[in-house]
């Protein structure tokens, strides 16, 4: 008998094997529920993002107020320059 023929014969018998029976429905349901929940790591990330945006808004508001408070914003910035001694 050829080896491959023997293997095919072995496979024919193997196909008749009784495979085990598992009841996975309940476990699948539990795993789906646990994996369906939004990831916990996203919550602090969102919170951090929100706080950062709020802080940035406050800083922007103060910056605009300060800018408007100056008489000549550009001159205020440039004026001190001639007084700087290079040597």
């Amino acid at each position: 008998m050829d080896t491959l023929e023997g293997l095919a014969k072995l496979a024919r018998r193997a196909r008749g094997e009784q495979t085990p029976v598992f009841d996975v429905a309940e476990m699948v349901r539990l795993r789906i529920r646990s994996e369906s929940r939004p990831s916990v790591t996203l919550i602090p990330l969102g919170l951090f993002g929100g706080l950062s945006a709020a802080a940035a808004s406050i800083i922007l508001f103060l910056a605009v107020q300060f800018w408007q408070y100056m008489n000549s914003p550009i001159m205020e910035l440039v004026a001190p320059l001639p007084e700087i001694r290079l040597w």
Binding site: F22, V28, R31, I32
Partner: protein, 216 residues
């Protein structure tokens, strides 16, 4: 377009209109009703699907591992993965085919992960089979035959092993294997040819036929 009920998904006479690819489709398929209900979040519907197909999926995954604990874990993985991919199921093929595709890929992935920790699986004891006459094939215990074949296949690389497992155990054609794995048919044929050659070498090195008493 009408979906004829397939043998593995018995119809129960219920009709549902649905739009697919811009066309209205009539589906009389219990599976489809459960699939649509599951997508909408009906857990009971998905449980019905799991119970309907867990036996077939277990049967397939048993070819990938003969450890009951690992096998059960893989079956669970398949159904969890299927649940989250359920929206992509278009109903063009029977649900069982779609599940088998996920199962084959899950099993293949499992083998590839296992391959990172190489281990030689010894061939099971042949004593019982050595006493059997060549013409008494029917008396060979199918579990023993499956264990021997599994151990032999375990010596092949994952792609070779997969192709031969599906060919030998599941009687899949090359086209079916190609569809399940997303490979080309030519690749499957080449892989099968090479895998058979390697398998023959291994079987001859192990004196398989002599040990089975099939040399006559």
């Amino acid at each position: 377009m009408t979906n004829a009920p397939c043998q593995c998904c018995p119809a129960e006479g219920l009709l549902e209109d649905r739009e697919r690819s811009g066309r209205i489709a009539l589906v009389e398929n219990t599976d489809w009703l459960d699939v649509t209900a599951s997508v909408k979040g009906d857990e009971d519907a998905y449980e019905r699907l799991v119970r309907r197909y867990e036996k077939q999926i277990t049967g397939l995954l048993w070819r990938f591992t003969r450890d009951p604990v690992q096998c059960e874990e893989l079956v669970q993985q398949v159904f969890v993965e299927a649940y989250f991919s359920l929206k992509t199921y278009r109903g063009d093929a029977p649900l069982l085919h779609w599940l088998r595709r996920i199962a084959s890929r899950t099993g293949y992935r499992f083998w590839r992960e296992k391959a990172k920790e190489p281990q030689e699986m010894p061939l099971p004891d042949f004593e019982i089979m050595e006493q059997i006459e060549a013409e008494e094939e029917e008396r060979i215990d199918p579990s023993e035959a499956a264990a021997v074949l599994h151990a032999l296949l375990a010596r092949l690389a994952a792609p070779d092993r997969l192709v031969l497992t599906l060919l030998y155990f599941e009687r899949c054609g090359t086209q079916e294997i190609a569809e399940q794995m997303g490979w080309t048919r030519a690749k499957v044929k080449t892989q099968a040819l090479r895998a058979r050659r390697k398998m023959k070498e291994i079987a001859e090195r192990e004196h398989l036929l002599e040990r089975l008493g099939w040399t006559l």
